[in-house]
């Protein structure tokens, strides 16, 4: 919720021009946040009214007076309509799916409208000029802003505006917003394919049951994150519960995707290669670990391992 502003803050030019910094949201667009000014068409409208008014005065034409006053009333009333179309809207940040560098980062923006009426023709606008226009019926609706993600790391959405010109286009009400939401950008996977060879593993806890692929050894209860390929589906079909098959075989072999395996490459190129390896190993359903200069991730498999590794690559060099 918006914190109350002091009078000085409320009227500062900087707030008008730049907004008031990133906020976690949801942000309710109250009257302190919604600005309104005539559009260029609105100014033209004013000029046309003035011309009609001069004509009405000159020809002492009662109905021309009536028309110009009716239109002036229309303009004034439309201030309230345009402003109301934005006022009271709640904007909240959605969860951004991670993307690879070079892709478009997508930022879901939740628009909650609790008036019971549709708010037509709202525009979400990014500083680069891209606009998304949508009608927001009563309830919560999601819009999406997208930004190019040129490099790995965290990509902040930054400032955007919610604006509307509805109903007459003579005025534009807008509210500059900055939600603290960012999108995780993984390094772009390098084009080269092929995994490094597996290495003889260190004794992994002396366990007989290293997690490999080849020979089924036992069943254990399913944990979230286990690969669906290894679920014992027959047991599921017999309604005996979810079990994960465990395999023996490669217990001696461990696949370590290591920074050290790529000497001579620049940092980003190394991260790209590592990224490609993680994707390949994951696609092959292998168990793999990741070694970075500042961090090691123990071998594992499945979507959670993949996410952990890619996240480490994305944020390499940053303090978490």
């Amino acid at each position: 919720m918006a914190s109350p502003l002091t009078l000085r803050q409320r009227f500062s030019l900087a707030r008008f021009l730049r907004g008031s910094g990133a906020e976690p949201g949801p942000i309710r667009l109250d009257r302190r946040r919604v600005y309104i000014l005539p559009t260029r068409q609105g100014l033209l409208f004013g000029a046309v009214l003035l011309a009609i008014l001069l004509g009405a005065i000159n020809y002492d034409n009662a109905l021309a007076f009536a028309l110009v006053f009716l239109l002036a009333g229309l303009g004034v009333v439309s201030i309230l309509h345009t402003w109301r179309n934005l006022q009271g809207l709640c904007v909240e940040a959605g969860r951004c799916p991670a993307v690879f560098a070079g892709e478009q980062a997508r930022f879901p923006i939740g628009l909650r409208n609790d008036t019971g009426e549709t708010r037509p023709a709202l525009t979400l606008r990014l500083p680069d000029g891209t606009e998304t226009m949508l009608d927001v019926p009563s309830g919560l609706h999601w819009a999406e802003l997208s930004l190019p993600a040129p490099q790995r790391g965290r990509l902040a959405l930054g400032r955007f505006t919610v604006a509307t010109r509805f109903p007459l286009g003579l005025l534009r009400a807008w509210s500059p917003l900055e939600l603290s939401m960012d999108c995780l950008v993984y390094p772009a996977p390098a084009p080269q394919r092929g995994l490094p060879p597996a290495q003889p593993g260190a004794a992994s806890g002396g366990s007989e049951h290293g997690q490999g692929h080849d020979d089924f050894t036992a069943l254990r209860p399913y944990h979230a994150g286990d690969s669906l390929r290894h679920v014992h589906w027959k047991a599921v079909a017999r309604e005996q519960g979810m079990y994960t098959k465990q395999f023996a075989g490669e217990q001696a072999q461990e696949l370590w995707l290591s920074w050290e395996l790529l000497p001579g490459l620049a940092t980003e190129a190394r991260l790209s290669r590592l990224c490609r390896w993680v994707l390949e190993a994951d696609a092959a359903g292998l168990s793999y670990g990741l070694r970075l200069p500042d961090r090691n991730i123990a071998p594992g498999f499945g979507p959670s391992q993949r996410r952990r590794c890619l996240e480490a690559l994305a944020l390499y060099g940053e303090r978490p």
Binding site: R40, G55, N58, A62, A64, D135, G169
Partner: protein, 651 residues
């Protein structure tokens, strides 16, 4: 094309409605031109035809401008201007690309609507053009809503906007400062004044008006309407004659009188009335004889004409007063000379007849002349025969058939011949009272000419020689009624019911028109001043009016804002509302629900902190959860929730 399709269709429809009345006035060759362009646009929108290229557009523009020039010989002035605007509007449709273009077209459309009012301001036109404003507004809403929705939504939204704008319009209409005169010269052709009484009379020209049912003016009396034989509406007074044609003393614009305004001695109460005169592009105002108090912008001449300093180019209302019985003063020598002037060598037979009476006393001369008209076979007719140079002689002795002007001119000639000072007064006589509203309609067909003679003991006296013609010698029924009744002739006689109803309808329509003229079209700086005076704001000058205007508009906006913002401020679900009230009350007791707390978790925490309220909290939470998430029957559970919440302590 990034314009929403339904927005384009609305735009086209609205523009067609705006252009329709314009088209009817355009030169004939422009009508197919405009229709073709509109049709082309329709084909673009419906059939996906391409927009025309630049050379073609240029060619079309040149053709359009040429066609306007051909029709009006100019591009300026209201008529040519409106035609040019219509042409440009149609052309602009063919290069409609962006929202900006479309909005410009709509603004031009509004401008064209305003231009249409220059030509006609009747109720019908007003209503039709208001309708086109609604369409244009709906088109604007549709254009600004790319996602699109049902067509009636746009109409409803535009209607709502206009309804809310209406009170603002009224405030501005009443209080926006009105200026008395034009800002720049009005082109001559801007005004189409109707035919009215002219500033001179040749025998035969009032007859032209006899068949015209156009309204000359309307009158509203403060008290009872005077009897018909007193309703003489005084216009130009004619003194100078060449035997055929009669002129006022000086024909100049604005007319000036050579002497001091004459006084008159009233012999009765002044009668107050308001006269709303249709524009006739002349200076005179037809006042009831004789005008008493003279409003500031009018002057009273020595022959009792009320004159406006400018030509009347717009309908105007005058607050006047009259003494219907009066006595005027002495006759200055110069006036006497003019009142006896006759052309030498003309109308010799008439002068011979008059000479026979010249030994009588002046009052007897008047009586003798009236008796002559009454007793000899004179006919009153709307179709008098054409007369030659000695017109009065031919009328008096040969044709003996004439209209009011013949009688007035003949009578004055006789008086002058017999040595009695006399003059002709033109104007209107009588009027029909509208039975549905309290006012009198005076139509052009009431145009009349009568005489005035100057007698030693009474001053100027009105004599209407036409009125002495016996009923049997009046050709038409309506003419017979003319001088004898002010009430509607048709309602007195038992006519067919259809005629009667038609008459009623006609009076109703005229009453409506009169109200429209009085309160809408006739609202000018004078009436505004009156209103401000009545509101007690006049002494504060324009600042008072401006403050009042701002306050009234502010009030209207406040009401509109409240109406707009009240909607949907509260959640509609009564369960949620009750739960919010419960949270609000607990908050006042120091128990604030954290955003992450569900109702059950909050209840557990609250019960621990306020054991005294625990039963209530438990009950409310259970009911809320059951109502909102469970399958509780709201008919029974909702009232229980309401009671439980209302029993919570306030603080």
């Amino acid at each position: 094309m990034n314009l929403p399709r339904h927005g384009r269709l609305w735009l086209l429809g609205a523009l067609a409605a705006v252009l329709l009345p314009q088209l009817l006035r355009l030169p004939p060759w422009l009508i197919p031109y405009c229709l073709a362009l509109l049709g082309w646009r329709l084909a673009i929108d419906l059939r996906g035809w391409p927009l025309p290229g630049r050379p073609l557009r240029l060619l079309l523009t040149l053709a359009g401008v040429g066609a306007v020039l051909l029709g009006y010989r100019t591009l300026f002035g209201p008529d040519a201007g409106l035609a040019l605007l219509s042409v440009m509007l149609c052309l602009k449709l063919l290069e409609l690309r962006s929202l900006r273009d479309a909005m410009l077209v709509i603004f031009m459309g509004w401008f064209l609507v305003a231009g249409g009012f220059l030509v006609d301001q009747s109720i019908f036109v007003g209503a039709y053009l208001l309708f086109t404003v609604l369409l244009l507004t709906a088109a604007l809403v549709a254009l600004n809503h790319p996602a699109g929705s049902a067509h009636r939504d746009y109409l409803r939204r535009a209607g709502l906007l206009l309804m809310q704008a209406l009170p603002i319009m009224m405030v501005l209409f009443l209080l926006f400062p009105r200026l008395p005169g034009p800002l720049w010269g009005i082109p001559k052709n801007a005004l189409s004044a109707q035919t009215s009484i002219s500033d001179h009379m040749t025998l035969g020209n009032i007859t032209e008006l006899a068949d015209s049912e156009a309204v000359a003016f309307r009158v509203q009396f403060d008290g009872p309407v005077p009897p018909a034989d007193q309703l003489y509406w005084r216009g130009p007074v004619l003194w100078i004659t060449d035997g055929r044609r009669w002129d006022p003393i000086r024909r100049e614009s604005p007319p000036r009188w050579f002497g001091e305004p004459a006084g008159h001695e009233p012999l009765g109460e002044a009668m107050r009335y308001a006269l709303t005169l249709e524009p006739h592009d002349q200076h005179w105002v037809f006042a009831l004889e004789l005008p008493a108090a003279v409003p500031r912008e009018l002057t009273l001449t020595a022959d009792f004409q009320l004159l406006l300093s400018r030509r009347l180019t717009a309908r105007q209302r005058f607050e006047l007063a009259a003494h219907t019985t009066y006595r005027t003063g002495a006759l200055p020598e110069e006036q006497r000379r003019l009142a006896l002037q006759l052309p030498s060598g003309r109308n010799l037979r008439t002068r011979e007849l008059a000479r026979q009476w010249s030994t009588l006393a002046p009052a007897e001369i008047v009586a003798a002349a009236l008796a002559h008209f009454r007793d000899q076979p004179y006919w009153y007719t709307r179709r008098p025969p054409l007369l030659g140079d000695d017109a009065i002689d031919e009328f008096l002795f040969d044709s003996r058939r004439g209209f009011c002007e013949h009688y007035a001119a003949a009578f004055v000639t006789l008086m002058r011949g017999a040595g009695v000072p006399a003059r002709i007064v033109t104007g209107y006589q009588g009027g029909e009272s509208n039975p549905l509203a309290d006012y009198l309609i005076v139509r052009q067909s009431r145009a009349h000419a009568w005489a005035e003679v100057w007698l030693e003991d009474g001053g100027w006296l009105r004599v209407d020689p036409t009125a002495v013609i016996p009923a049997a010698r009046v050709e038409t029924e309506t003419d017979l009624q003319r001088f004898r009744s002010t009430s509607a002739p048709m309602l007195n006689v038992d006519l067919h019911w259809l005629t009667r109803n038609l008459a009623q309808l006609r009076y109703g329509w005229d009453a409506l028109n009169n109200a429209w003229n009085q309160w809408v079209l006739g609202y000018n700086h004078l009436r505004q001043k009156e209103l401000l005076q009545r509101l007690g704001l006049l002494r504060f000058g324009w600042q008072g009016a401006a403050a009042m205007m701002a306050a009234a508009i502010g009030l209207v906006l406040m009401v509109v804002a409240l109406q707009l913002l009240r909607r949907g401020r509260r959640p509609r679900d009564p369960v949620l509302r009750l739960y919010e009230r419960y949270c609000h009350r607990l908050e006042r007791l120091g128990l604030r629900r954290a955003p992450h707390e569900g109702p059950a978790a909050f209840a557990r925490r609250a019960e621990g902190l306020r054991p005294d309220l625990a039963p209530a909290i438990r009950e409310i939470s259970a009911l809320y959860i059951a109502l909102r998430y469970g399958t509780a029957d709201s008919a029974t559970a909702l009232p229980r929730l309401r009671t439980a919440v209302s029993r919570l302590p306030w603080a």
